[in-house]
Every structure is written in C-alpha cells, then in structure tokens.
C-alpha cells in the first residue's frame, strides 16, 4: 500500500476533530444531567413545596444515588466513555469516583482496601475543597471587622 493511500485511509477513518466531538458530547450530557437536576428540584420545590435548601440537597442526593447505582452495574463507565467531562463535572462524577474506587479495591480487604482507596479521588476533592473553604472563612471573618 503506498503512502498517499495510507494517509487517505487514516484521514477517512479517524474522527474529523476528536476535540470538537468530545466537547459536543460533554456539553449535551452535562446539560442533560443538570436539566434532570432542575426537574427534580421543580418536583420537590414547586410540587411538594419543600424549601429551596432541602430541595437542593435532594437533587444532589438523588443524582449521587443514580450515578452510584449505574456505577455498580457497570453502566456508568460506558456512558462516561463518550460523555467525558459531561459525566465527570456534575456531582455524578464525584459519586462515580467514590463507588468505582471502592469496588475496584474490594479484593484488597475491607479496611486498607475499600476503606482507604475509597478516598483515592474523593479525598483530594474534599481536602482541597475544605481547605479553600477555610481560607475563604478566614478572609470573610477578618472582613467582618474591617
């Protein structure tokens, strides 16, 4: 096979712009998850007249639960393969990270396997989230006296 034909075939069969395709997938899947959250919020806040704060927590918990169950049955990974950041950035990504790390390490024992590895991705997220929160708290506390 001569080189020009090879190049042509590679061009033909490789995706036109993987970055653009990935971004579009991420946009639609991420958007879909958030609009699902909005519908859940509407259900609690408007239909059941639950307070806004409680409804927000309900949205988070239900999305975490759905993502955890999908991870448990191995469906989440198939979606995430195409969605990329679309499933990672919403709270579903956090839930998936916790559950999949826990499941993958179950053969290494309950305490140092599951117990420790469950924080592989959740740990950094919680640590840096909390510490930036503390930093903000210090600044806010000082600003109250100025």
């Amino acid at each position: 096979m001569d080189i020009s034909l090879k190049k042509e075939l590679i061009k033909k069969y490789s995706p036109k712009s993987p970055v653009l395709k990935d971004v579009i997938f991420a946009f639609f899947v991420g958007g879909f998850i958030c609009s699902l959250g909005e519908i859940i919020f509407y259900f609690f806040n408007s239909l059941l007249s639950v307070s806004e704060d409680t409804s927000s927590i309900a949205v988070t918990l239900i999305l975490i639960f759905i993502a955890a169950v999908l991870t448990g049955f191995g469906i989440f990974d198939n979606i995430a393969k195409y969605a990329g950041a679309g499933t990672l950035v919403p709270v579903t990504g956090f839930s998936n990270a916790v559950v999949s790390e826990a499941m993958d390490s179950s053969s290494e024992g309950l305490i140092l396997g599951v117990g420790a590895k469950i924080f592989n991705i959740a740990g950094p997220v919680i640590l840096f989230g909390l510490c930036s929160g503390i930093l903000y708290g210090i600044i806010y506390y000082i600003s109250l006296f100025i």
């Binding site: 826990a102 991705i121 997220v125 989230g129 708290g137």
Partner: protein, 124 residues
C-alpha cells in the same frame, strides 16, 4: 408551565457550558479527572467568595449547582453562614456541615456496593 421549561433549558445550557472547559482540559492538557474535580471545587469556592457564583446560579439554577462548582460554592456558603452564626469556630465547622449529606451518601453507597458487587465480579 413556561417557567419550568425555560428553567430546565437554562439548566441544560449552563450545565453544558460548565462542562466544556473541563473537556478541553482533558483533551488538550491530559489533566487527570481527579485534578479537574479538585480544580472545579476550588473554583467553586473562589466564585462564591467573589460573589460571581450568585449571578451564575441566578441565571442557570441547577445548571450551576449540580456541577462540582456548586459543591465548592456550597462549602463556601456553609462557611459564610457558620461564621455569621457561630463566629470564629464557623470557619472550621461550616464547610463539612454544608457538604456532609453528599459526601456521606456517596461514601455509604461506595462501601455498600463494594461488598454487594464483590461476589458478582468473582462469578464472572
């Protein structure tokens, strides 16, 4: 009825837009997902602290609070309210209090599923 359609649509657009920078970071810089999650949570605290998050949330609703930016903003909000109510101690107690429900549920489900699905994996 128009209200809910427009708010669902805005959540869709907002959530989608927030995912785009993360996807670009994955594709173009090979940043690992863990780093992106950390980046988004810290960004959320920063956006909340500067007051920008309020505008984003006002516009997009769940499109702003469901992504991990909302998780970070939630921590910031918890700290702010705790400082107002409890004073100095609130700096330390507010963040975890606000994030506790989500963290607890995902950890519980993680432990539960690692036990349930262990036997399932073995059989295959």
């Amino acid at each position: 009825m128009n209200d809910i359609i427009s708010s669902v649509l805005l959540a869709f657009i907002g959530g989608g837009i927030i995912c785009i920078p993360a996807q670009l970071l994955i594709d173009l810089t090979r940043l690992t997902p863990a780093k992106i999650l950390v980046l988004y949570v810290c960004l959320g605290v920063l956006l909340y602290g500067t007051g920008i998050y309020d505008y984003i949330f006002e516009l997009f609703g769940r499109g702003a609070s469901v992504p991990l930016i909302g998780f970070g903003a939630n921590i910031g909000k918890g700290v702010k309210e705790a400082v107002e109510n409890e004073g100095f101690l609130g700096i330390l107690s507010g963040g975890l209090t606000a994030a506790s429900a989500g963290i607890s549920l995902s950890l519980l489900l993680g432990l539960l599923f690692s036990v349930i699905f262990k036997t399932r994996q073995k059989r295959m």
